[in-house]
Subunit: 488 residues, 2 copies
Amino acid sequence: MGNFIFSKEEDFSKWYLDIVQKAKLADYGPVKGCMVIMPYGYAIWERIKRILNDNFEKTGHENAYFPLLIPYEFLEKEREHIKGFSPELAVVTTAGGEELSEPLILRPTSETVIWNMYSKWIKSYRDLPVKINQWTNIIRWEKRTRPFLRTTEFLWQEGHTAHETEKEAKEETLFILNLYKRFIEDYLAIPVFCGQKTEMEKFAGAVSTYTLEALMQDKKALQVGTSHYLGLNFAEAFDVKFQNKKGEMDYVFATSWGVSTRLIGALIMVHSDNKGLILPPKIAPIEIIIVPIFKVDNEANKRILEYSTTVFDILKREGFRVEIDKDVKNSPGFRFAAAELKGIPMRIEIGSNDIIMDCVTVARRDKDKNSKYQVSMKELLSKMRCELENMQSELFNRALEFRNLNTKEIIGFKENDYDTFKTYINNHLGFVLSSWCGSEVCEEGIKNDTKATIRCIPEEFQNRSLNNLTCIYCNGVVKYLVLFARSY
Amino acid sequence: MGNFIFSKEEDFSKWYLDIVQKAKLADYGPVKGCMVIMPYGYAIWERIKRILNDNFEKTGHENAYFPLLIPYEFLEKEREHIKGFSPELAVVTTAGGEELSEPLILRPTSETVIWNMYSKWIKSYRDLPVKINQWTNIIRWEKRTRPFLRTTEFLWQEGHTAHETEKEAKEETLFILNLYKRFIEDYLAIPVFCGQKTEMEKFAGAVSTYTLEALMQDKKALQVGTSHYLGLNFAEAFDVKFQNKKGEMDYVFATSWGVSTRLIGALIMVHSDNKGLILPPKIAPIEIIIVPIFKVDNEANKRILEYSTTVFDILKREGFRVEIDKDVKNSPGFRFAAAELKGIPMRIEIGSNDIIMDCVTVARRDKDKNSKYQVSMKELLSKMRCELENMQSELFNRALEFRNLNTKEIIGFKENDYDTFKTYINNHLGFVLSSWCGSEVCEEGIKNDTKATIRCIPEEFQNRSLNNLTCIYCNGVVKYLVLFARSY
């Protein structure tokens, strides 16, 4: 037991699970694949919720709540949707002591129940757009599970919007994609590639799916959010028509989009180290922990605690998320390690010497232990602000550098390029930007050879010329530059 | 269609359902008994959540999330618990395309899954107290449902605490009861009687249940929250022991407590009228709506809208929850009615005459339409503050007066008192304070004769002398003064 954690170089997966449990983010529930989100993990989720929710609200989205239980036949109304989700459904067959005449499924996503309601609510162009979001639990029966990354039950938000025109719905899809990108990069300090999914990888029921893809420290990719343009698929399935300005009846265009508790898994796998979690300050439930260094002398301890409380009050009043560690039983070293395990960005140590000097000693979670230094009380506030800001941007830059270092271009020009591609991806992992003809045969072939899939058709490389390039797999005419990676 | 609603005098139940749907609080989902909480209803729930959550947090409670799915056998571990809940369970028998080897139930409440986790987390007195709360959905298969009051799925918070001593756990039970009372009275403006439930009415698995009981305008009672002292029942069922300060192993004492979306039903049934919802200002998502009175003249309309926007900005900056109704198509009368239907506490009308006078016209939702008056811009802020505060306390006082008027004392002294009791309760409804011997035979007898149950043993009457009183039903020795009522 204790706080010893596996090293990530030795076993990345065990390191991950160790952080989840020992930093008390989550624990295994009694049902396979269902996790318990513990208070510290839930506090991170609450910060994610609050920040995203404020953004949704500011841009005219409203929250609501739709039922967990969905008639099975609803899923069958959209052909691709049922095909994609049927292997993962949990089904209620008995309730109130009786067998149900029609089975009910637990929502694996809510398009069907929501579009069923939209068919009642949307009658005229005056009712549009409808921009509704909900924060809920979701059930998908997964074979292999891992806390936060893939669990039978998870928490998420799902936005479901309805629009008059294709143009407006497509704009909403990309608007949300961009809102997610800004949130994930600015708050979680995780750089992402954005782009469209291929037909094979898109959401079951979407016309097109846009994704955000991040690189973990083990060089595997993680999809951290998606935004779908659903076209008329759900409007047709649920017969949602509105009277347009000319008095004619038209189907309604749709989008849906979501991010989930998986983001907490990404935070762990992008930033953390062998001492535990490292949280970007903007998302940390506690930004600063004050650790009074207690002595054997009770009089001295009283002074130290008083001084620490003064520091706490000053920081609290300025709006910092700060706590005092009042543990008198354990050694300072033990208590430093505990704060490091939880990934608290800044530690303030206060001992007798700091009091004499009218100072505090500060240590940043992402720096090595020799870098701690004294700050005068006069400079306390400005220094804290500055360090937290620096840490936020340095974590992002470090992750970006790692991502870029592990994003390799291997683009098809000649016959033997595919060998280079295969060898590289099998030995180095990471993202590989490559050239693809658009055929599913090639996509499948590469997946079989390398276990890598097309993560997305990344926006940021689409203005390049495709002249003289060939599909990395078949040497055929290139349609897109795409990002390959093995992924979670 | 339209906004016409049933009168409550004519049919209270239809009036209630009309307000739910026409004020767009909730709608019926596709599965019987499952409601959709619409954005306006959800906004009320979000205010309830935020205020209660801040209170829980301030008093050292932490949020977490426990799984929806619970092994059936868990419920069987506490004998009374399974007896109480088994008729209401929804059961998942198939998942991921396969029949499950052990059925899983959807949480009807989470004591079992939480105490299963506490058995892993609690080892020593140093781990105590544990004070965890969660905001979740709950499934109970109800035969007769009604939006917000009794639905197959509802949203709630459930607190689950673990303590070293009986004393501490009992104190927590009453502390939360009192926290609920303050919230419900101060924010929802609903007066409540607090007290213990009888053995017959208590929570399945509790040692004792404390309840908050409110009186609706149809003179039926509604239980609006409960707080349970669970003793060692769940600790014993899940073998949750801790090492106490002397080094011995002891069982852990428990409490649980919750309020749900039912509170929204109470808000409707206590305050609202035949024009629609009336919301107490402190809980209203929108406190003030500004209604510009547009004319046919475009130039004038521009000035009116500008002036309205100025008023909006002034109020917004001061932290009021304010909106402008920019509808130019419908008549002022129609727009007033729409704002009234939604129960917005204050309406500010702005027409050309108001601009000339440097005024606005204000109308309070709970006053009759002739009571609207002009307020100079100079007095705008102070007047708004004052009116909102007055409305909050007047709504409470009105509800209290109604409750007191309909709380009758019929206490047993002599043989024929029971006839008086029966006649009264059957004709007048409301609360009846009466004297009871403590026997379930009498409790059942009264229920059969009057459909009234013992809502609680109210705290506020327990210091009265019971000398010379007899049980209203059997004329036996009195044990308690209790409140009877028909209820939802």
